[in-house]
């Protein structure tokens, strides 16, 4: 594998649409639940151990070669908010475009044909890692990190939060992120033999509810 390929895929400037999504932070800021670096950290911590742990496991499983259609269904069942399902497919489609231009691969082509309007983003991410010659750990790390870096960047824009503080939040979460990524790979390996039920399904109630509140706003800065 190429370690540099991981940097390309994990780069926040990788053109796959993530910049327009706040990962629920815009709704939480508006509701007054994120007001500073400390509340951003708790928000990110909650997201890391729920939605991001789930997407990391899906991505790792896709990178291991678990059937992507089954993983896409597992992602659907683990995403009760229809607004979040729409966002995940939108981002999946955008990532698919970037991935096929960057690391052309028949498995990506097959998934694009199976889901012309987009598969869940972590499933595409896992296959992208595979196409780039990366492994399940890499896919899990990318997904888990995106799960917290997106909200942190968004809050810098939404609250005018000091960008050094926001980056320090991400650095403080790093040890937990290591554990989440490792657990995700373990779960993905179990899914190879036991099926997708072995993947984590931990949810964060206010992320789901907040996504629906956000989707109903007539005016907003971020797509989700």
């Amino acid at each position: 594998m190429s370690r540099a390929a991981l940097l390309v895929l994990a780069d926040g400037r990788f053109p796959a649409g993530g910049h327009a999504h706040s990962g629920g932070a815009e709704a939480a800021v508006k509701a007054g639940r994120i007001t500073d670096a400390a509340s951003l950290e708790e928000f990110c911590r909650g997201r890391l151990h729920t939605g991001a742990a789930m997407t990391a496991a899906l991505a790792a499983a896709a990178a291991l070669g678990v059937d992507p259609t089954g993983l896409d269904r597992a992602a659907d069942a683990r995403t009760p908010s229809p607004a979040l399902r729409v966002a995940a497919r939108k981002l999946g489609r955008q990532l698919m475009r970037a991935a096929r231009a960057t690391w052309p691969h028949p498995e990506l082509d097959a998934l694009a044909q199976r889901f012309p309007k987009g598969a869940h983003q972590p499933v595409v991410l896992g296959l992208t890692a595979r196409a780039a010659g990366l492994g399940p750990e890499d896919a899990a790390y990318c997904s888990a990190y995106e799960g917290v870096s997106g909200p942190a960047t968004a809050v810098v824009r939404l609250l005018g939060l000091d960008p050094f503080d926001a980056t320090a939040v991400l650095a403080r979460l790093a040890p937990e992120l290591d554990r989440v990524a490792q657990d995700a790979v373990d779960a993905a390996r179990r899914a190879m033999t036991d099926g997708v039920d072995a993947l984590p399904a931990r949810s964060a109630p206010l992320l789901e509810i907040g996504a629906e509140v956000h989707a109903g706003w007539p005016v907003r800065l971020f797509a989700s």
Binding site: H19, W103, P104, R157, V219
Partner: protein, 225 residues
């Protein structure tokens, strides 16, 4: 894993001039420029001028999502299914230049859903003078500035002013009131842009958007030739 093979299925190359079914895709023209210079008004006027002769659609990239799309809907310049709003996460220049993936989905969805289309106008949210469109997203771009924003903007230059395929100096009717020197703006623009065209327009005048519409027609004729 094999990385060296040809790929099939829907196009993965954004600037490809053909759609997956082999037909030629619509010409895409971007409109950028500072806040309040009249981009949305120019888009609305272009839609009115061209909608009888062309099949067209609009993608907006707002700062606050849907504001410009709502304006176009209220003005009823096109049926609602021909107007699509892309959410930009507070950064229109990112969505039109650095990460064009959402805009590409939007233009392709419009072609799928209301096509065949001759022309898609992609409007940026108001941004700064350095904001230009990626060549992976549009085939040509129009940069719209106005006389009220200061008559030194053409002289200052910047990628939008100096490299856009068409520079529009808008609101010429206001020049006497804001003390802008139109002749100087035109001369400065010429100095920055060389042979690239400049249009001075007032949407309040009888000619309105005529010159810009003619320029669009010429681009389209070249595209389909």
């Amino acid at each position: 894993m094999h990385l060296d093979h040809s790929h099939h299925g829907p196009s993965a190359v954004s600037a490809d001039a053909h759609r997956p079914d082999g037909t030629r895709r619509a010409l895409r023209i971007g409109l950028g420029g500072p806040v309040g210079s009249g981009k949305t008004a120019t888009v609305a006027a272009l839609c009115r001028a061209l909608r009888e002769e062309l099949s067209l659609a609009v993608v907006t990239n707002d700062i606050y999502t849907r504001e410009d799309a709502e304006f176009l809907l209220r003005e009823a310049v096109l049926p609602p299914e021909r107007i699509s709003a892309v959410e930009t996460g507070a950064c229109p220049h990112t969505a039109i230049r650095d990460d064009i993936s959402a805009n590409l989905e939007a233009v392709e969805d419009l072609e799928d859903e209301v096509g065949p289309l001759d022309l898609i106008l992609v409007e940026s949210g108001g941004d700064n003078l350095t904001a230009t469109f990626s060549k992976g997203l549009v085939d040509a771009q129009i940069f719209v500035i106005d006389v009220a924003g200061g008559d030194d903007i053409p002289r200052k230059g910047g990628p939008g002013v100096s490299t856009a395929d068409l520079l529009v100096v808008n609101k010429t009717d206001l020049a006497p009131y804001v003390g802008s020197d139109l002749a100087r703006m035109a001369a400065d623009a010429k100095a920055q842009r060389g042979e690239l065209p400049v249009v001075l327009q007032s949407l309040r005048s009888e000619e309105g958007v005529r010159d810009v519409a003619d320029w669009v027609r010429a681009r389209l004729a070249a595209w389909t030739a």
